[in-house]
């Protein structure tokens, strides 16, 4: 290829994503979980991105919005490329920059810009879930061991607010030094990045970094794996170490600072959230927590850990409906959990809760199976 014919912008794009490194082996497409229900072909996107005219057509393909950013392609790539990021880059260059995004995406992005969350909720009601509860608030400039980052979905969605409430309660009971940020917390912008609005993402990285660095925290503990992954991998200037709450809880259990003293007599199957597992390699800690639950029988999916099936909640998919009418992956997951005879489909991510809740209803499995976030389960196990 004659590189002189490439625009500077395309050369940067090629370099950023190391597109010449791709050997078109097909490991990415072979592992991509959404190919069973959509036309998404990651390999084509990577290959055609090398050509200016072909690349411009790529964004018009509806399947560009089918990627859930589950990271399977990157985990499987023998050359260490991140095909998922090529798709996000294309969304940025060709879709968002032209302003031609779906209305749901537009509203989510505008809401992050104006109110600091993608759910069109007022910034000023972000901490309303705390009302009447014993929740410690961290003070900027004062030392705190664990600075808790709630996540927009957990802060505003009544279905998952219980995660933050239970975490505060457990930390109180375990005598942990912690503090929540409160009203000034704003979206981690992980989904802004995945929706292709890179400039807004970078602006949020800057303002969030400034906010987080105001605290003298040993570590930042996130409730959502999406915030966790974003802070850990995309916020180079954040001073504190970033961990997911499952790591903190596992640590407290192993140190016997937290002891589950109530029975939970259920058959539980754990669904690995992509942003915890495939994106960040956290597989053991959720299982450590499950192993401490008295009376529980824990079973495993055939597709688990690195091979775990995505629930299609990531990659901005909370705001984009796929054109495919085939069974959703979350429905497949619910069906598989039902077939294992599990009564609890355990997850460690608010998005997984929402997608799998819907899937269980869609499959008519409500009588035998329900979704429970680990914090929902363990919140009731400590006196």
């Amino acid at each position: 290829m004659n590189t002189e014919l490439l625009t500077a912008e395309l050369q940067d794009f090629i370099q950023k994503h190391d597109l010449y490194g791709c050997i078109q082996c097909g490991r990415c497409t072979g592992g991509c979980p959404v190919t069973v229900r959509t036309n998404l072909n990651v390999r084509r996107f990577v290959y055609n991105s090398l050509d200016q005219s072909m690349r411009d057509d790529l964004a018009k393909l509806p399947e560009i919005w089918d990627c859930t950013a589950c990271n399977t392609c990157a985990v499987r790539c023998p050359k260490g490329l991140k095909p998922v990021e090529v798709l996000m880059g294309l969304r940025n260059i060709l879709v968002v920059e032209q302003g031609t995004v779906q209305t749901t995406v537009r509203d989510a992005l505008e809401s992050v810009f104006l109110e600091g969350n993608p759910w069109s909720k007022p910034r000023k009601t972000r901490s309303d879930w705390m009302e009447g509860l014993d929740v410690k608030i961290a003070e900027p400039g004062e030392k705190v061991e664990n600075l808790i980052f709630v996540c927009c979905t957990v802060a505003y969605d009544p279905r998952v607010q219980v995660l933050a409430k239970n975490l505060a309660d457990l930390l109180n009971k375990a005598g942990v030094d912690y503090g929540f940020i409160g009203e000034s917390e704003a979206c981690c912008a992980s989904e802004v990045h995945h929706l292709g609005e890179e400039d807004l993402f970078l602006e949020m990285v800057e303002s969030n970094t400034e906010l987080l660095n105001e605290y003298v925290a040993d570590r930042i503990v996130t409730i959502s794996p999406h915030c966790f992954s974003s802070f850990k991998n995309q916020y180079p200037a954040v001073k504190a170490k970033v961990i997911h709450y499952t790591q903190l809880i596992a640590e407290l259990l192993e140190a016997k600072k937290l002891i589950f003293n109530k029975e939970y007599p259920h058959k539980i199957v754990f669904h690995d959230p992509c942003f915890l597992g495939k994106q960040n390699g956290i597989y053991a800690e959720p299982r450590t927590i499950l192993g401490h639950i008295p009376g529980a029988e824990v079973v495993e999916f055939e597709r688990r850990r690195e091979r775990s099936l995505c629930c299609e909640g990531g990659g901005g998919k909370m705001w984009v409906e796929s054109e495919s009418k085939k069974e959703r992956l979350a429905e497949t997951r619910a069906r598989d959990a039902g077939a294992l005879g599990a009564s609890i489909l355990a997850v460690a991510c608010p998005f997984c809760v929402l997608t799998l809740d819907d899937a269980i209803k869609a499959k008519g499995l409500e009588e035998q199976l329900r979704v429970a976030e680990l914090l929902e389960i363990i919140g009731a196990l400590v006196d």
Binding site: V96, E97, G99, T100, V101, T103, V105, R106, L109, E110, F113, L114, E115, S120, K121, P122, R123, K124, T125, D128, E197, D199, L200, E203
Partner: protein
């Protein structure tokens, strides 16, 4: 085409808990989020579509405080050329006729073919500013418009009427059109565009800059007086009228007269 588009910053009260504040003459907005008024957002998009098709320029007009600047910048990012914001606490903003006078003063004396407004504000729901603005400017208007076709020297608009009817109106330019939501699909303003829009002119003016006497648009000149806000009591009393339709109408009319409602 020289187009003016008027925008207002309003609270989103769709899910908020609305409480009357301690003065009794306002609403506690401490927990609200704010955005551009919904139908104004469609008016902005329509202005950009006309500009893209016919050329010309779009100027954004807003009567409001500095808090509205972010919404104005978003409109500029979508293709607006410049903006003017009238920031003056002496304007009696609860009176649509006074607001119309202020907006008209910002537009008068400048060349314009079209003035677009939203058809209704989400906060007060008066549906009056656009129409009153046309009167102040001395130009024809059409309200609740769902389709706009600009031709030479004139504009053909499709108005949404009660019962799902559509009225087609032709007007000579210049004219005022109040835009109904759903006429188009408002675009997204990328953050890069909003940043670039910082370079565009946003003039902030007072009443005197527009040649308006404060007393002409203040509370004293208004026919509207805001006495107090209250949340209507929830009552479960209902009376079902019996009889033939004619009989029911008579009974209803009697009840309304008796209750002092007519």
């Amino acid at each position: 085409m020289n187009i003016f588009v008027c925008v207002k910053r309003v609270p989103d009260t769709s899910e908020a808990i609305v409480k009357v504040d301690s003065s009794g003459r306002g609403v506690d907005s401490s927990k609200f989020s704010f955005d551009i008024n919904e139908s104004d957002n469609y008016a902005v998009e329509e202005a950009m579509l006309i500009k893209e098709a016919k050329g010309g320029n779009v100027r954004v007009v807003c009567a409001g405080t500095q808090d509205a600047d972010v919404m104005i910048r978003m409109a500029l990012a979508k293709g607006g050329n410049s903006a003017i914001r009238i920031d003056d606490p002496r304007i009696n903003v609860i009176d649509p006729l006074q607001v119309a006078k202020v907006l008209a003063a910002a537009i008068k004396g400048k060349e314009f073919d079209l003035v677009l407004t939203g058809c209704m504000a989400n906060d007060d729901g008066n549906m009056a500013v656009g129409v009153a603005l046309a009167e102040e400017l001395g130009v024809p208007h059409a309200a609740m418009v769902k389709k706009v076709e600009v031709e030479t020297g004139m504009v053909k608009v499709y108005r949404e009427l009660e019962g799902g009817l559509s009225e087609v109106v032709e007007m000579e330019l210049p004219a005022v059109i109040t835009i109904q939501t759903g006429i188009n699909e408002p675009r997204y303003a990328p953050i890069r565009g909003i940043r670039e829009a910082q370079k565009k002119e946003l003039a902030v003016v007072k009443l005197e800059d527009l040649g308006l006497a404060p007393e002409a648009v203040g509370e004293g000149a208004s026919l509207i007086t805001l006495e107090n806000f209250y949340i209507p009591k929830v009552e479960s009393k209902a009376e079902i009228l019996e009889g033939e339709p004619d009989q029911k109408a008579v009974t209803l009319a009697e009840k309304l007269v008796k209750g002092g409602l007519l």
